[in-house]
C-alpha cells in the first residue's frame, strides 16, 4: 500500500504543476518591467517587482472601459438568461403538455449547436436590426447559448424537488405563479445561483461573437481588447498578463463560491468555448 500512496503523491504533484505553471507564468510576468521581459532577465521570479503593468494598463489603455463593457454584458445576459430559463425550466419540469419530452431534447440540441456555425448568419441578422457595433448585439446573441444551457440545468434541479409542496400551496389557494415564486424558486435557489454563475462565466469569457459583432474600440469586451494589446506595434506582454490576472480573479472568486454545485452540474457539458 505504501507504493500506491507514493504514486498518488507523485500524480498530485505532477498534475498540480501542469495546472499551476501557466498561472504562475501569467502572474509572474504581470509584475515584470518591459525591459525584464524583452531581455529575458529574471525569467522565473520578477526581480525587481513592479506594479507598472497594472498602472499602465489602467491609465494608458482602454482596459477599464473594456472591463466595464464585459461586466455590463455579463450582468445583463445573466439577468435575461435567469428569468427565461427559470420559466422555461419550470414549464418543462412541471407542466403537462403534448410534446414536452421533445421540447426537452430540443433545448439540449440547441445547446450543442456550435457558435462557429451561427456567427455569419447571426451577424447578418444583427446588422439588419442595427444592433452591431454596440453591446446590444451581445445582449441579443449570448442568450442563444446561455438560455438552452441554463434551462437544461434548471430542468434537472426542478425535477429533483418534490412537487407536493407546490401542490399543497395550490390547494391552499395559491395561484400557479405564486407557487412558482414563493415555493419552488426559493427551494431551487442553489441551482439557480449555480446556473446564473455559469451564464455569467460563459458571457464573461466569450470571444467569437464579441470579435465579430463589434468593431468600435470603445464598445468591445475584455477578451477582444486583449487581442488589440498584442497586435499593436509593440508586444505589451506585461500589460496583457496584468489584464489576464484582473479578468481571471472575479471568475475564480465566483467559482470558489459554487465549486460543489458546479461539479454536479458539469454533466451537461460545459466544455463549450
Amino acid at each position: 500500500m505504501k507504493g500506491w500512496k507514493a504514486a498518488t503523491i507523485v500524480g498530485l504533484v505532477g498534475f498540480g504543476l501542469v495546472v499551476l505553471v501557466p498561472f504562475w507564468w501569467i502572474a509572474s510576468m504581470s509584475f515584470k518591467t518591459y525591459e525584464q521581459i524583452q531581455f529575458a532577465t529574471s525569467i522565473y521570479v520578477p526581480r525587481p517587482f513592479t506594479w507598472e503593468n497594472y498602472t499602465g494598463l489602467w491609465l494608458d489603455t482602454r482596459f477599464p472601459l473594456w472591463l466595464r463593457n464585459s461586466a455590463v454584458t455579463a450582468v445583463v445576459v445573466t439577468a435575461i438568461t435567469t428569468v427565461i430559463s427559470c420559466l422555461s425550466g419550470y414549464a418543462v419540469a412541471r407542466l403537462r403538455f403534448p410534446g414536452r419530452e421533445s421540447v426537452a431534447s430540443l433545448i439540449l440540441i440547441l445547446y450543442l449547436v456550435p457558435p462557429a456555425l451561427l456567427f455569419i448568419p447571426l451577424y447578418r441578422v444583427l446588422a439588419e436590426l442595427g444592433a452591431t457595433n454596440s453591446l446590444w448585439s451581445l445582449f441579443l446573441s449570448y442568450p442563444t447559448f446561455t438560455v438552452p444551457f441554463c434551462t437544461w440545468l434548471l430542468i434537472g434541479f426542478f425535477k429533483a424537488l418534490p412537487v407536493e409542496l407546490e401542490e399543497a400551496a395550490m390547494v391552499d389557494g395559491a395561484t400557479r405563479v405564486q407557487a412558482l415564486w414563493r415555493v419552488l424558486l426559493p427551494l431551487a435557489a442553489p441551482g439557480i445561483v449555480a446556473s446564473a454563475i455559469f451564464a455569467f462565466t460563459l458571457s464573461w469569457n466569450e470571444f467569437l461573437y464579441a470579435l465579430i459583432f463589434i468593431q468600435d474600440e470603445r464598445a468591445i469586451t475584455v477578451p477582444v481588447g486583449l487581442n488589440l494589446l498584442i497586435y499593436g506595434d509593440v508586444f505589451h506582454w506585461g500589460q496583457l498578463m496584468a489584464a489576464s490576472v484582473i479578468t481571471t480573479v472575479p471568475v475564480v472568486a465566483l467559482y470558489m463560491f459554487i465549486h460543489r454545485w458546479m461539479v454536479e452540474g458539469l454533466a451537461a457539458g460545459s466544455v463549450k468555448g
Binding site: P22, L112, M256
Partner: protein, 252 residues
C-alpha cells in the same frame, strides 16, 4: 457589405471541393480534434485515478485542477502562445531548455507547421482535460466498492481490476465526454485564432478560423457559410447520439 447577393446554386460547394486550402483545413481540423480528444481522455482517466486515490483534501485538489476549465480561452491561448514563443524575451519552454543546457539557442516552436499544431493541441488539451478528470472521478465514485473487494478476494491484480471493473464502469461517461468535446473541438475558433491565426501558412487553419477568414477578411459570405455547413452532417450524426446519452442519464 461584401459582394452583391445572387443565387449561385451549388457553386460554393463545388469551389470548396476543388480548393486545396479547404482540404488542408479538413485534415488540420481532424488532427487537432482527434489528438486533443484522445489526450484528454487518457490524462482525464489518469487524473481521476489520482484524485480517487487521494485520501485527504480531495475536494481541494479537485477544485485546484479544475482552474484551467473556468479560465477564459483567450487568456489561455495567449499564455500558451507566449510559453511556446522564442521571442521576445524567450518563452517558458525555451527558458527551461536553455537553462537545463539541452539547447544552445531558442527554438521558434510556433514558426514550424508541426510546432504550431502541437502548440494549439497542447493549449486545447490543457483547457479541456480537467473537465474529463472530474467527470471520470464522479464516474469512479459511483462504481460500487464491493466489486473491487470481490475481485481482490478472487486474486485479481490492480491492473485487471482497472481493466475489468473501472473501465467498463466509466464507459458511459467516456462516450458522453468524448462526443461532446468532439463537437466543440472540431468547431473551435478561439485557441487557433489567438495563437496562430491559422498559420504559419495554413498549417493550423481549421473550419471555424477558415470560415471567419473567408467571410470577414475576403468578404466571401456565402463561401464562409458553406465552410461551416460542411460540419453539419457530422453534427447531425453526433448530436442525437449525445442527446440520447444525456437524456438517458437524466431519466435514470
Amino acid at each position: 457589405m461584401g459582394y452583391p447577393e445572387r443565387w449561385v446554386g451549388l457553386r460554393n460547394y463545388i469551389y470548396l471541393a476543388n480548393d486545396d486550402t479547404f482540404r488542408t483545413v479538413v485534415r488540420n481540423s481532424l488532427v487537432f480534434t482527434v489528438v486533443s480528444v484522445a489526450l484528454k481522455v487518457l490524462t482525464g482517466v489518469a487524473m481521476a485515478l489520482v484524485l480517487h486515490a487521494t485520501w485527504r483534501w480531495r475536494n481541494f485538489f479537485r477544485g485546484l485542477l479544475l482552474l484551467p476549465w473556468i479560465t477564459s480561452t483567450v487568456i489561455i491561448a495567449l499564455t500558451w502562445r507566449w510559453m511556446f514563443d522564442a521571442f521576445p524575451g524567450r518563452g517558458f519552454f525555451n527558458s527551461v531548455l536553455l537553462d537545463a543546457g539541452l539547447i544552445s539557442r531558442p527554438i521558434a516552436f510556433m514558426a514550424t507547421p508541426e510546432g504550431a499544431m502541437a502548440a494549439v493541441i497542447v493549449a486545447n488539451w490543457w483547457r479541456g482535460f480537467p473537465f474529463f478528470g472530474v467527470s471520470y472521478l464522479a464516474g469512479m465514485q459511483s462504481i460500487p466498492g464491493e466489486l473491487y473487494e470481490a475481485a481482490s478476494v478472487d486474486g485479481a491484480s490492480a491492473a485487471r481490476r482497472f481493466w475489468h471493473i473501472t473501465l467498463p464502469g466509466l464507459k458511459h461517461v467516456i462516450i458522453v465526454t468524448t462526443l461532446l468535446t468532439f463537437i466543440f473541438t472540431i468547431n473551435d475558433f478561439n485557441i487557433v485564432y489567438v495563437m496562430t491565426r491559422g498559420g504559419p501558412g495554413t498549417a493550423t487553419q481549421v473550419f471555424a478560423t477558415y470560415s471567419y477568414e473567408v467571410a470577414f477578411n475576403a468578404l466571401r459570405w456565402g463561401r464562409g457559410v458553406t465552410i461551416s455547413i460542411f460540419v453539419v452532417p457530422l453534427l447531425i450524426a453526433l448530436i442525437p447520439l449525445v442527446s440520447r446519452y444525456l437524456l438517458r442519464e437524466r431519466a435514470a
